[in-house]
Amino acid sequence: MSNTEETRTEFHQLMDEVRGDLVRMSGLVTEGISTVTQALLGNDIGLADQISSGDDEIDLLSVEAEEKCVRMLALQQPVAVDLRTILTDLRMISEIERSGDLVANIAKGIGRLQGVELDPRLRGLLDRMSEQALRLTSRAMDSYLDRDAGLASALSDLDDRLDELHNDFIETVFSSRNDRLITTQQAVQLAVIGRFYERIGDHAVNVGERVQYLVNGELPEHKGAQRARARREQGDVS
């Protein structure tokens, strides 16, 4: 009896630890986003180099958190909400870890820009994209911690705003190139960097979808899957 109790306590402790790991990973990503933007706008190669060590930290946390999840699945065979939580955690680990990689990619891109002097409009848009990507990442974490399905579903609206900013940014990169303020190589690098910010938003939206699944067991993909299943059955009939 006391033995089962002990294992249950250990189980819940592991769940708490994984949650703590996720919070820290997300914290490292948000901090990474502001640092990398500061490095990008300040042409600070030294600061950009420091960012990869933050990414190593995220990788370590993700490996540890995943191991804990596997241990819980293997030893406890959890069901219902516990199982859903662990499955959500596993998916979130990879989403947040990927966002960390994107931050590191932006840092690498800074070196390839070769100290270009960006015009204020481009700088302003980069700043706005960074702010929006940071907001999405931290709101996604809030929705997970508060089990807030409403906030989680609102993330896609926030992401629409980031997509708009991204489109504006690409247009401005083109016009800067046409005005010969930047070289073609620099324009391509900037477009790639803009895309990285935009992708961070997509990962936050994925986290939001996982949180919705955690809270009410529904995924946006379910609707599409239902349609496909219906089509498949119809195909069988005809």
């Binding site: 901090e31 706008l41 204020p120 700088r123 700043d127």
Partner: protein, 385 residues
């Protein structure tokens, strides 16, 4: 028979007395022991109460610290966490990294090694947090560990401001004076009147520059010393028109239009009219300097529920986000090369900030690079009528 009865009675009485006295002796002993135990118990309870009070006093005292303190025993179990450190438990986002650093510091310290670590946050606002871990030793035996979290952002900032001020002041004063000395040397040996004329013009412009810096420094120290400003009744509309009038020629020279926006209802502020005109004027002056020719700037007064906002909006180059908290420092310039061209002394915003402090007003900056800036002087309503 009677005698026998009497003896029996006597014997009985004696045995009673003996038995009774024995019992009462045992009882007395017992009572004494009980008293002793009771006393011991009471003193123990007192000691325990004192100990509880002692640790409670310690806990309350630690809550008064500005730094966060976490104390753990040898098993790593937390025994004390003060108010500031509690902020980091269950912290989210960037703050969760402080809790991570804390846990790590205590882990390392539990093996007997001290730890010093600094966690930097890019912000905004940027922050610098020091985490220290120290083993707690009692007669050379480790009995636990303590971790201390110290937000050093403000002290580091003040140090930097002080250092930069001295360096910048000597630079700003030395550059024109050095130029004047060189120009004078050249002038002394110059015979060509046209060259002499050019040299004299340069000397005159450098002298004007030193004069402006000294005037602004004097103005700044006057504003600082004044503290409490006069509490005249001031109409924000007259403040704005006076400020605009002063800078109209400068705006015209750069082909910049100044628009204004007043509230329909009249409102009065309490304060020093001269200082307020100077503050709004400085903001207008900056807006003109950092706007593209052909653009416009807007000066407005907006009445809010608890304040009156005096704002200056431009659509100029904007200010990088990381510089927001530095632009009010004396002589601080975002772009050193460009600012000298525009000819400011680097003291304008410092003066504005001091005037704001004197009027218990807040100064707000909104800015985006490539889009423009808005500076707002938020005058509290309690100083209005």
């Amino acid at each position: 028979m009677t005698l026998a009865l009497a003896i029996l009675l006597l014997l009985l009485t004696i045995s009673f007395v003996i038995a009774f006295s024995r019992r009462s002796k045992a009882q007395r002993e017992l009572t004494a022991q009980l008293d002793y135990l009771n006393g011991a118990f009471e003193s123990l309870t007192n000691d325990a109460t004192l100990a509880v009070l002692g640790s409670e006093r310690l806990r309350l005292a630690l809550d008064q610290l500005r730094a966060g303190v976490v104390i753990v025993d040898l098993a790593g179990q937390e025994t004390i966490r003060n108010q500031v450190a509690k902020r980091y438990t269950d912290a989210r986002h960037a703050d969760s990294l402080v809790e991570g650093a804390l846990t790590e510091a205590l882990e390392v310290t539990s093996r007997g090694n001290p730890v010093d670590q600094t966690v930097n946050f890019s912000g905004p606002p940027s922050r610098m947090i020091q985490v220290r871990g120290r083993p707690l030793l009692h007669e050379n035996q480790q009995i636990g560990s303590v971790a201390i979290v110290d937000d050093q952002t403000e002290s580091v900032r003040l140090d930097r401001v002080r250092r930069d001020f001295v360096a910048n002041l000597s630079h700003e004063l030395r550059t024109p004076i050095g130029a004047i000395a060189l120009l004078c040397d050249t002038l002394a040996e110059e015979e060509d009147p046209t060259v002499s004329k050019r040299l004299i013009d340069r000397i005159s412009s450098e002298t004007t520059r030193v004069g402006e810096i000294i005037n602004d420094l004097l103005e700044l120290s006057r504003v600082e010393l004044d503290g409490e400003p006069r509490t005249d009744k001031v109409d924000p509309r007259s403040v704005i028109s006076a400020a605009i009038d002063e800078y109209h020629p400068a705006a015209d020279a750069r082909n910049i239009e100044i628009l204004w926006d007043f509230p329909a209802q009249s409102v009065q502020l309490k304060g020093d009219a001269g200082q307020l005109v100077r503050a709004v004027g400085n903001l207008v002056d900056n807006a003109i300097k950092y706007s593209e020719p052909g653009s416009s700037i807007t000066v407005s007064a907006v009445i809010r529920s608890d304040s009156v906002d005096l704002s200056v909006r431009d659509s100029g180059m904007g200010i990088p986000r990381g510089e927001f908290d530095r632009i009010f420092e004396r002589f601080y310039r975002v772009d050193k090369a460009r600012s000298r061209e525009t000819g400011g002394t680097g003291l304008g915003l410092s003066i504005v900030r001091h005037i704001a402090v004197n009027h218990r007003a807040e100064i707000l900056v909104e800015s985006r690079e490539g889009e423009g800036s808005v500076f707002t002087l938020r005058m509290p309503k309690e100083s209005t009528q």
